[in-house]
Symmetry: T
Subunit: 164 residues, 12 copies
């Protein structure tokens, strides 16, 4: 089974299509891992703010799953077969498993903050690379970064302590 | 961070709670892997029946994600911290990564049929083990098997050839 | 055209699958007949309580049609081809056509009460037979009996006369 | 229990009411049989186009059930008691049981095409008979034929082979 | 203020347009009176079946109001100004005010039955007159008679006594 | 058929109930007439602002019909049988039929402005009378005046000419 | 645990707040008891009008539960802790348990009529007391009495016998 | 690629099917052109009534698109392949392109009035031709004329000037 | 007024029906008390997590009310008249009134945790008793325990303190 | 541009209309300022309860914006032109800008509590002034105070500390 | 009737506005032609995959119609009058009419693939031209290309044959 | 209370974050002022087109409020505390209060046209400044300009006079 088709989107070179698809595959792994982590935290937070944080994470999970779908279908549209498999994810990723199991809201949000920082730095890098080649893919990534930065702001707002 | 609380559900022994939770953790890995695989196939099927099968897999994905959530929250309710992490999934599972990338509808459905058979055999085994200890967990598993067998029937009905 | 596939659900013997499917075929006939009867009564009741009873029967019809669908798809999932045909229904059933045409609410409800009693006794018998073999089919039948007994209670509540 | 009331709709002779009701009773049997057959096919088709055809038949079933209801309530409105019973259906109908059980999409659609042709020819005949007597009943039948011909077109479009 | 425009619908003579509009004005008065009567009964029925009949009349009212709107806009479309005023209604109608105030369900339904009979006989007469001139207006009236006859059947079904 | 029951609402004298019901009957006639007039204008306005005004009147009609229903059910709740009949409306009312048929938006809105003024002055008078006897009826009338004054403001805003 | 806060709503004296809250506590008990009774009747009525009355009581239950919530949150807003407990309800109420178990529609509606009369007389009394102190609480009670009197009218309309 | 199938609807001769389909093809072109024109006007009207007319045209566009779909699927159901192509539309139509670009509401509505008159005269002609052959097609055309005449009335009501 | 009918559900002995109904009556009291307590806490919690916990309790209340309804209608279906009255609840229950009025989120959740433990232990006991007699009632109780254990997990998750 | 029309609502003196409108203008400024402040806090709260309070403020904002609209349209209905402009708001108001920017939930809620107290005291004063002149305006203000006091209770419930 | 207004969007030169509008007019023709073609194919596909492809094309049609609307209103916003007329479309376009009438799914999808390639290449070209002048128009085109490329991927996935 | 956090979005320098936030604060004031002005006009327009323009402004208000929210949360996400206060708005803005109170539709739309021109010129300027630093903020502004230019086109279309 070949991974690439004999086409890419009209008006783009086939090499460019494969190059972008390659960069996006790593983003797909990152988003697939993120929605698994968000559910994992959803199940394992405890403490006085349990229900509010438990519920806050579900729309984030839903949105991240849609982003994974959007990236994967973009890869396919560009003519390459995407991988959404857990084994490939784990063997190809450059980061570790999320470190906490049952823990306080505060500890989980502090860890999630780091996860978002890592994913967003990588998204920004790919964004700057694809911008010169394919404005459509660039626009997809801009839309994702926009929402993911907002989600991180939700998390950071819990951690911040204002000095009155 | 301990994995178990100092409680389980009222009327059940704490040892029983941990035993069932242990059996369910493997089911959680299987369901998490299945919804990743269903999306992977959703992106990688090609051929004359593309759109019908592409669309058939989305409600299956949605349902399997809800089953994963249901199992994970049952584990937590029983007093144990569930793991929804990809790294643990891959290192603890007893099956391999899904073998196909871009392939025909027929080939993908034949592989998915095997995936469902594997998951369902394991679900039935856990079902028979927990039935004597906790009818609530048993009922959750019965409800999941019911729908998953129906999903497999959808897939098998594509593969079957009736002799007129 | 053979009536059975070369599979049944994972973890169940093929003989068991066929045995249960055979028991369910009779239940399918009974449910198909019941939703025809409920509509027949819906059209033929008259008297001062017409509109309330006329409307009460429609959600019952809808639910019974969904139960027929559920049973038929269970038969197919078990590897056997279900029959939903009127000719087979009439030749294979063990009961007579519903006896009334246009009649009062009271007379129709008294007859419907008997119809429900007959169907429910048979459902309970099949339920007890399949319980040892396949907990999934058992659970389907329990769910149906639960609602059908409630529907019968609606009907009985019209017929009962409380002594003050 | 008499089958006819001492009234029919205002402005129509009682004899005319009974005559039309008699013609409609056969149409009611045909529609009741059709929705049973559509469900039967829904459960028994197999092959590479399974899911698309399986799903196409459900809105047809729903619509045909509404047509049966519309005809039956028209019979009642005309002053005659309609029969929706399976036993009467089978003994009074002029056609045979549907001949297939589990079969390919192609075989089932070829049979359904014949079923629709039979029903539609009869509907057109009744339509031409009632047109001179009661424009209301005529309009009901026109509306049904319109949709049923469209449903048949869906089926025929699967069977047709265009020569390029 | 003239009552007629210098146009009627394309393809119809201006005289024909005015003739039909004249026939429809009487139907508009009848429908406006009917929805007032239906509300009047809605407020004034009493007895053991109160709530069921009270609620049955509201969708009839809604539908009759839509029919009045449909007729009035048809008159305007035909180039004539419709009258929806109570004073003109009362001075131009050929029937009396509804005779009951607070009364039993049975008495009210017996009276409503007569109201429907009167209105429907007149609708049928106009229907037969306009049929040769304007099939569009004919179709509007057929659609209204269809539903109004069904509403009358609801009412008659309460009054009928089936002999067992 | 008596017009009054042997009860009124708890905590109110039966005489008071009848007195208020008497005042409300005139309000019921006014509201019934108003919704007929609003539809009449809806059908008969012409000119460059046709569609906006045609559409503005429909939610007013709907609301006025609900107010008529509210007043009539209040009369009944107070123990008196309300009249919603056109004949009684016309013979008992103190105002004339609406004077326009087909006319410009401006002319119709100028007439409707007068209709609202008349109805609202009467509503305010009844409101001040019932306030000392029954705060519930008072509250119903306040709620109606609130919305009706807003509707009139819509109409007046079309007629007003601001000097820049 | 003190029952009162160190605040009441702005612009009202703290004594007034406590006085009104005290009056409302009894209303809260009455409404809590009423929604329990309405469900109790919902389950225990029998006879030819069963389904219509069974269904009529559910929206009443829903509304009464919302009224209980509204009163309780008003008490809390006024600075006092409300009690929604069954034990306090029973020990503090001035009325007896509802007297019927399974009984005819007629008997139950006759009893419910008395329950409504009792509750409404008390609501009117509290209404007149709070009117001079707090127009907000007065308005809440007026809104509740308005709907509860309408519910009672539904019940009374079943019991009334019109003399033709 | 042949344009006709070897079938038409049951009960109609194949020649009749082709004849009607031929008449309908011209109606399809007219409806396709009309919905393009309605959008064109939607974009190009200016003046003080802009927003109301801009918005009025959208539901007309939607409805006309559904009518085009209905006619095209009727042609196909009759066994002929419909054409929805712009090139064929322009070469086969008997009318000119719509004459205005940016213009006042009044000018556009005056032109649209002519467009509707042209289309409706042709629809009426086809309607009278098919009535004797196929009542189903006749009924489709009646339903379209009904709504299109109403749409034209909306437009004419803007243009008419009532003399007070 | 007798408490039991002369029937129970088909296929179950009348003694068994009464025995189960007796066990369920105590569960009905427990559920009725629980939804009153949940609302009581909803009104009386204070502290920094107020809004999140205040809102978390409302869907629990709604669900528990539906469970009470389900149990009561099961009792009636089994042929016994259920009691939903507060007086009987208080005199027959084996537990005390909820001990807190206005209190912190933490204190209320700690008390609610105990309430859930008590109710769930009793539900499990009844569940084990009815399992051998009536699988339908058993299934109802399993479904309720499943959700109630999840609700308790929500509450416990607020109270737990994870050691990092 | 004059600020007042030559009318006010029917049944009210023109002077009264202007007087009330004058009082309401200040309330309009207060409500416009409040919804700006609520959004400002929505963006600037931080701390462990961030998400719950962030979300709690949005329905309050929505409601306060509807109240501003209601007051402004009441002013216009009374014949005076309302001002919704920020410059006039700031120059005419008697209070200062909200004092906090980014701050803890606790600090923000303590400030919002003061804002609500100020606005509610003023609303109550205007309420008592208009009560004697115009019951409609009084009713509008009562409805607003009712909800705003409830919103303040939400805020106060976060700040209160119950002594166990 | 001039085609351009004396304005364009703020911050853009009037010449730039006209230049972009000119480029967009060709895109408007292309999109108008595409939605006509998609419907044409919707009516003319035949073969075993009929229903799935027939239904897949409808959401594409809807989306393309919205894109045409978006482009046309952008042209108008830029100050130029757009043309949505079929005659201008055909005389100004650089491509031919779609070549197929009734044909197999495979043949139609192969042709549609070409249509999409043509339209997308032109969209990309205009996109690159407007990017330096007006980022708003650029963003509109990026959003359209994104979805249209995805639609083309759906079509291509039917045509692709994976080598296993 | 400091106005800036010790973070900005990942991959952006903290100085850049503050610079962009500073530019956006002025845009927040402009949008907050615009939605206040749109409501002000909504209340103060008069004349023959009142209702259409009155209603056209409400979706614009809603959208502008969402844009203000989007900008403010972007400022916060970038690490700076936004100000939504009226006092700061008025003291920091570079434009005057909207000049009209009650006025004709034409005068108000002419003024609103100027308001939109001012705001859009500033938005375009900020857009060009942030484009090189942060593509996410750029994209947010592009999206807002797109809709705001469309809103202005609605307004301009009322003012334009086409020469026929």
């Amino acid at each position: 089974m070949s991974k690439t088709a004999d086409y890419t989107v009209p008006g783009l070179g086939k090499d460019s299509g494969e190059e972008i698809a390659g960069l996006l595959q790593d983003r797909l792994h990152a988003l697939n891992d993120l929605h698994l982590v968000l559910k994992h935290v959803h199940w394992n937070v405890v403490g006085p703010n349990f229900i509010a944080v438990h519920e806050m994470l579900d729309p984030q999970t839903t949105q991240v799953r849609e982003f994974a779908d959007e990236i994967a279908e973009r890869i396919a549209t560009l003519g390459t077969a995407p991988s959404g498999l857990s084994g490939e994810l784990v063997s190809e990723r450059s980061w570790q498993d999320y470190p906490l199991r049952k823990a306080s809201v505060e500890d989980h949000l502090a860890e999630l903050d780091k996860v978002y920082t890592g994913l967003l730095e990588d998204h920004r890098q790919v964004l700057s690379k694809v911008g010169n080649i394919d404005p459509i893919t660039e626009d997809i990534l801009i839309g994702q970064v926009k929402d993911l930065e907002l989600f991180q702001w939700f998390i950071r707002s819990h951690l911040e302590r204002a000095s009155a």
